[in-house]
């Protein structure tokens, strides 16, 4: 979605730029014409009528006012008047030597159109003769153009049409090109998005941007490898710790039941056993959470019955010689008995276990732990609550907004969720469920896990 938007914006801005380019061109063109025109205003077309008007004949003598003469001198121009009847030059001003002094009609027609002995000349008819204004060689270029009316029309319309057609073609080419770019870049952007979301990406390594695709694939592989290494590292540690921990747990649990020992020693053994069990749970949680985090734990989906599942978890606690200060209560509605969800039994069991364990851990003075299962049309909720110490409103807020354990760069470890509860959140999310925490200081702690029911 964002990628489409990006390209739309790109096309828009490019079209704007193109329009700007056209406008600048029009402006430059108009300026050019204006400058050119300003340099052409002393042209023969301007001077010729002046001379024609000012050339006076008095007593058979032609005179030209001084200011006009000055203009002529400035341009190094010359002038002559050819008599209409005889074709003889009857007056001239600075006539070059190689210019003839008599002209036929043919000569006149030729020079009116073109040059006279390579001098660009301009003519103007007077009633006493033909006034000829000549400029130095190579100072003017004379053009002669004539077109049919139809041709002129075609030219004018054609010019406008070609102009707009050009704009259209440029735009089309441009859009085509950006489409092509979009096609090449889109998979790359999708790949980057996937990598950002922590997924694996595999792009086809071909086309214009194949190098970038190959690099992205490499990055994705490297990241995945790093994740795998991290998960394997954790799993390795948790494996290696099992044997030594077995010794601690096995001996302490055996010795705490040894009636030959002092009750004092037995109590210490119980303490060792409990702590060893805590380590055991911790490494199990750590292992599982890293596997879920890096998608290395495939869900083993089956039909699971939350009511019976909750019972089994409670049984495990009741059978584990838990201190009598922890009292369990189980509530479920009869119609929930046959309700099931699709999920991973081991994981959901783990989630409930961790929540109960959490209540036990935080209430060293004992508490009543209530587990209830309720169901509605669309979902099944498993609620684990206690009447223990609870947490303050701020702490609750912090718990609800904490980032993921493995993603957290927060050094304030104590403010984080315990690993066990985070694992619960991961498990719930893996089942498309939600976790809600309610708590009030000294009034208890309640966690609700809501799982969607699957319809068949």
């Amino acid at each position: 979605m964002n990628i489409q938007k990006f390209f739309k914006r790109y096309v828009h801005s490019s079209v704007k730029l193109f329009c700007f380019f056209i406008l600048v061109n029009i402006f430059l063109f108009v300026s050019l014409i204006m400058v050119s025109v300003s340099h052409g205003n002393q042209s023969p077309t301007h001077l010729l009528p002046c001379i024609s008007d000012e050339l006076q004949q008095t007593d058979g003598q032609y005179t030209l006012p001084d200011d006009i003469v000055a203009l002529l001198d400035q341009d190094h121009a010359w002038c002559m008047l050819i008599d209409n009847a005889t074709g003889n030059v009857i007056w001239n001003y600075k006539l070059p030597a190689n210019i003839p002094v008599q002209y036929t009609y043919g000569d006149i027609a030729k020079m009116a159109r073109w040059y006279l002995e390579d001098y660009p000349v301009f003519v103007s008819a007077r009633n006493d003769g033909l006034l000829v204004l000549g400029y130095p060689k190579d100072s003017y270029w004379k053009l002669s153009a004539y077109k049919t009316i139809v041709s002129i029309k075609i030219d004018a319309i054609g010019f406008i049409a070609v102009f707009f057609l050009n704009i259209g073609i440029v735009l089309l080419l441009f859009i085509f090109n950006s489409r092509k770019t979009e096609k090449a870049i889109k998979p790359i952007l999708i790949g980057i998005e996937e990598i950002a979301a922590g997924q694996k990406t595999q792009l086809a390594e071909q086309g214009e941007l194949s190098e970038i695709n190959a690099k992205l694939n490499h990055v994705s592989k490297t990241l995945k490898r790093r994740d795998t290494a991290r998960a394997n590292w954790i799993s390795g540690i948790s494996h290696d710790i099992r044997t030594p921990l077995s010794m601690v747990l096995g001996y302490s649990s055996s010795l705490e039941k040894n009636h030959g020992l002092d009750s004092d020693v037995q109590e210490k053994m119980t303490e060792i056993r409990q702590q060893a069990e805590k380590i055991k749970r911790l490494i199990e949680d750590l292992n599982l959470t890293s596997k879920l985090e890096y998608d290395m734990q495939p869900l083993r989906i089956s039909n699971i019955y939350p009511v019976e599942l909750a019972r089994q978890v409670i049984c495990e606690f009741l059978d584990s010689n838990l201190d009598k200060k922890y009292v369990f209560e189980f509530e479920s509605e009869p119609q929930c008995e046959t309700e099931f969800i699709r999920g991973d039994e081991v994981l959901i069991k783990r989630a409930i276990t961790n929540l109960i364990q959490n209540s036990i851990n935080h209430n060293a003075n004992g508490c009543k732990i209530t587990i209830s299962v309720t169901c509605s049309e669309k979902e099944i909720a498993i609620v684990v609550s206690d009447n223990g110490v609870g947490v303050s409103a701020e702490k609750l807020k912090a718990l609800n907004s904490k980032t993921h354990y493995l993603e957290s760069t927060d050094k304030a470890l104590h403010l984080r969720h315990g690993l066990g509860v985070l694992l619960v959140l991961q498990i719930v999310e893996a089942h498309n469920g939600i976790m809600q925490i309610l708590s009030e200081e000294q009034k208890g702690y309640e966690t609700t896990l809501i799982f969607p029911k699957t319809k068949y």
Partner: protein, 234 residues
């Protein structure tokens, strides 16, 4: 119970300390006949002495424990219990695939280990096992389906009642959930089981309890399940 404790158990683990610990745990719990082996080869040699149960680690220096289980299975039908640090689902699946009877993941509690060993032995060698047990107010003989109360005529149990008591007895001292009791009583069907189960339980109470209205041997754990408490263990 004497017969169970006399069974010989073969422990196989490459870690001598674990072998020593398991041995001491079993000995403390009355098991006397314990063999150990720290390699698969030695374990196979020990098979000549015909142990009654093999407890195997998966990671052995000379052979994969799963492989060893396969080899053992080819020679004998004794129960196999895996005791290993490999706790992944796939590992467990593999364990049961090669014919394991149970699978314990390290680290483990001494008690749990003993329970599981006892449970397997009891299940496998039940023909020699006493199917009768003592409760607070009576003696129950599941083989004969009879309840003997002092000063009364023996009372007989129905087939369903025997099944329920069997289930509770094999988990004596631990809670059996309503769901798993129901499976015993009516297969896999959950619907409406609770009433059926309740009526069975009421009948059992009348037969085994001194005060059926306040049971002490077959106790209810509200909403969860039932627990059978043998005489002298409560």
């Amino acid at each position: 119970m004497g017969a169970i404790k006399d069974k010989s158990i073969l422990l196989v683990d490459d870690e001598p300390a674990i072998l020593l610990m398991c041995q001491s745990i079993l000995k403390e719990n009355g098991f006397t006949n314990i063999l150990t082996a720290d390699t698969a080869l030695r374990a196979l040699e020990r098979l000549d002495t015909h142990p009654d149960l093999a407890v195997l680690d998966v990671m052995l220096p000379d052979m994969d424990g799963f492989m060893l289980a396969k080899v053992i299975r080819e020679q004998t039908n004794i129960p196999i219990l895996f005791l290993t640090a490999k706790g992944e689902f796939d590992d467990k699946a593999k364990g049961f695939e090669v014919g394991a009877d149970d699978y314990i993941v390290k680290p483990f509690l001494a008690q749990e280990f003993v329970w599981r060993v006892t449970a397997i032995l009891r299940r496998v060698y039940k023909e020699n096992e006493d199917t009768s047990f003592l409760l607070e107010a009576c003696k129950v003989d599941l083989g004969q389906a009879q309840v003997y109360k002092e000063g009364c005529d023996p009372v007989s149990l129905t087939a369903k009642e025997v099944e329920i008591l069997q289930k509770l007895f094999s988990n004596a001292g631990r809670i059996v959930t309503l769901g798993s009791l129901c499976q015993t009583v009516c297969g896999d069907i959950y619907v409406g089981y609770e009433k059926t189960l309740m009526s069975h339980i009421r009948h059992i109470w009348e037969k085994i309890e001194a005060e059926p209205s306040s049971p002490v041997s077959l106790v209810t754990v509200k909403g969860i399940g039932y627990k059978l408490i043998l005489k002298g263990t409560g």
